[in-house]
């Protein structure tokens, strides 16, 4: 019995390791290739380890090579940073307000409003792109980073509302009633009771928004056409689509684009998981 169980355990681990190799394989190619020196880069040796750690691929992906018409991703990386931070803060704030009201102030029609807001996170964004471009052009926000921030704030409302609402639902109503007896109104309760308790939901919402705004491509490619303003995903796609760019530089660029969300995931994975579960509506 015990040897049978040990064998079964061995099989389980063998299968788990095989699966891990499958998931790590592209990451291996990505990391290894972007570390190789230009002399070592050859598709025939795609799977070979680099002879040392070289940062030339990253440098070229970051700075580009203006003489040969290669645009670097440095500006775009910074664009993504400038875009992600304010959009995350603003959409989390709106989500917190909505979540609070929907969880604690049962107004008439709330049962319709909540799912109606949530539907906004499932729609294919293609169905709003045409009027979005028209309206942004009217507002003179088309093609600007502010315009893109605005778009991410608006379409971030559903998911942040869901995360905060689910969390606030677990805040004891007694706390709110006590503050109300002390004379606090809807805003007073929010500032004195709700905001100090919000950290756990804020972490989940902020991590979710940081990764999804950083990773967005559709809004970026639709709203920004000037390479100087584009976020990194759009610039990476342009870089990779051009046949003159060496593939190690493409990999270096891909790693640059992947690194921020991967670091967030590695260090704050627990909160990332919660956002994931909230996204499936299971809270």
């Amino acid at each position: 019995m015990s040897t049978g169980r040990a064998q079964a355990g061995g099989v389980v681990y063998a299968l788990l390791i095989a699966a891990a190799l499958f998931y790590l394989m592209p990451v291996y190619v990505l990391v290894v290739t972007s570390m190789k020196s230009f002399a070592e880069v050859s598709l025939a040796h795609m799977w070979a380890l680099p002879s040392g750690v070289y940062f030339s691929s990253f440098a070229r992906a970051w700075q580009g090579d203006p003489l040969h018409g290669l645009r670097g991703l440095g500006t775009n990386f910074l664009n993504s940073v400038k875009l992600t931070i304010p959009a995350t803060i603003l959409s989390s704030f709106l989500g917190s307000l909505n979540g609070y009201v929907l969880a604690k102030w049962r107004f008439r029609g709330a049962d319709v409003v909540f799912p109606a807001i949530l539907f906004g996170m499932f729609i294919p964004y293609q169905s709003i792109l045409i009027p979005l471009v028209q309206v942004l052009q009217r507002l003179h926000l088309y093609g600007t980073l502010s315009g893109l921030i605005f778009v991410h704030v608006v379409y971030g409302i559903p998911i942040t509302t869901l995360i905060f609402r689910n969390y606030y639902a677990s805040v004891p109503t007694d706390l709110i009633e006590a503050a109300e007896i002390d004379g606090a109104g809807i805003w007073g309760v929010y500032q004195r009771v709700i905001v100090p308790l919000s950290a756990p939901a804020l972490v989940v919402a902020a991590i979710w928004q940081v990764t999804s705004i950083w990773n967005d491509f559709l809004f970026g490619v639709t709203v920004t056409s000037n390479p100087e303003v584009q976020p990194i995903t759009v610039a990476l796609n342009n870089l990779a689509g051009s046949y003159v760019v060496e593939w190690n530089v493409q990999m270096g660029g891909a790693l640059l684009a992947a690194l921020p969300p991967l670091l967030v995931y590695v260090f704050l994975g627990r909160y990332f998981m919660r956002g994931l579960m909230a996204g499936s509506l299971k809270g």
């Binding site: 389980v12 788990l16 699966a19 891990a20 998931y23 790590l24 592209p26 190619v29 990505l30 598709l43 025939a44 795609m46 799977w47 709106l94 307000l97 909505n98 609070y100 049962d111 909540f114 799912p115 109606a116 949530l118 539907f119 499932f122 729609i123 294919p124 964004y125 293609q126 169905s127 709003i128 792109l129 045409i130 009027p131 608006v154 409302i157 559903p158 509302t161 809807i186 805003w187 990773n215 491509f217 639709t222 995903t233 990476l236 796609n237 990779a240 990999m251 660029g253 891909a254 992947a258 991967l262 995931y265 590695v266 994975g269 998981m273 994931l276 579960m277 499936s280 509506l281 299971k282």
Partner: protein, 286 residues
């Protein structure tokens, strides 16, 4: 207090969807807007459209393969992980990592991995790996082969999303009380019977959520196609979301693009609205 958000969602989601619907019923198929009424003509044209017909078939193929692979791999990994006590966090972290990165990054990497190579280059990527492992007969043209096309994209999508399915199943398995299994054991059920008669039925709600979430992702799949293949030979990896973008913003066929977008929206709504209403209802009752 929540009025600004409600107004924003009302305008930017529902108002815009409505406006797109209106555009789809006009003759705006050139650079400048033309709001002359066209009725259902754009839709009728679409269903006759060679490319759109291929796209619908591609979406069906993609959804089928992507869903089947994610559910099977996700479930198998969750069941295995439940038995790998101490190593569980490590493996789980590895399996879920692809989810954190952009579809664009995934597309760029998998385009090289599934590159079929050429006469001068020899085999590259996965094909090269197959040769090294002495299973060269598995080599394939991948996305350059019109018979595979969109299914190559489904492989990359499965790589990215199967960890998510695993996480859903793992949470589901954790939610099953040990007493239930104990009770079945006391009644003389074998482990296999417990699995089939107790565990699998209890996980059905998880499967349903996974099908809805993954299904709506596959209807909307866009970024991965752009970064990995584009339309492919003979539109073999083209999808409606890509056709919409292409025809609207590159071809200036705004009304046609709006029509495709609305068809996509209806498909997504049919899949998600009942689930959304049901989940929020049960939550309110709780």
């Amino acid at each position: 207090m929540i009025a600004p958000s409600i107004v924003a969602v009302a305008v930017f989601v529902y108002g815009f969807v409505g406006w797109t619907g209106f555009v789809s019923l006009t003759r705006w198929n050139d650079v400048l807007p033309d709001y002359t009424w066209a009725g259902w003509r754009n839709y009728l044209d679409l269903f006759e459209n060679f490319r759109f017909r291929i796209d619908i078939v591609n979406t069906a193929k993609f959804t089928l393969v992507f869903l089947a692979a994610c559910l099977a791999i996700g479930f198998a990994l969750a069941a295995l992980l439940e038995r790998a006590f101490r190593a569980e966090p490590l493996f789980r972290t590895i399996y879920l990592a692809p989810l954190a990165i952009s579809f664009i990054v995934t597309g760029v990497v998998w385009r090289w991995l599934l590159n079929p190579g050429s006469a001068q280059l020899g085999s590259v990527g996965i094909n090269q790996l197959f040769e090294r492992l002495h299973v060269g007969f598995l080599r394939s043209g991948w996305y350059t082969d019109p018979h595979i096309g969109i299914l190559a994209v489904a492989i990359a999508a499965t790589w990215q999303m199967s960890g998510y399915t695993m996480a859903l199943y793992l949470a589901g398995l954790r939610g099953i009380p040990d007493e239930l299994r104990e009770a079945a054991r006391v009644d003389g059920a074998s482990e296999g019977q417990i699995f089939r008669r107790v565990i699998v039925p209890l996980l059905q709600p998880v499967t349903l959520s996974a099908v809805i979430i993954l299904g709506h992702i596959s209807l909307k799949i866009f970024d991965l196609v752009v970064a990995m293949t584009g339309s492919g030979p003979g539109f073999s990896s083209d999808v409606p979301a890509f056709f919409m973008f292409d025809t609207t913003f590159r071809g200036n066929h705004f009304a046609q693009g709006a029509g495709i977008a609305e068809i996509l929206l209806v498909l997504v709504a049919v899949l998600t609205v009942p689930y959304l209403v049901y989940s929020t209802r049960t939550e309110v009752q709780r």
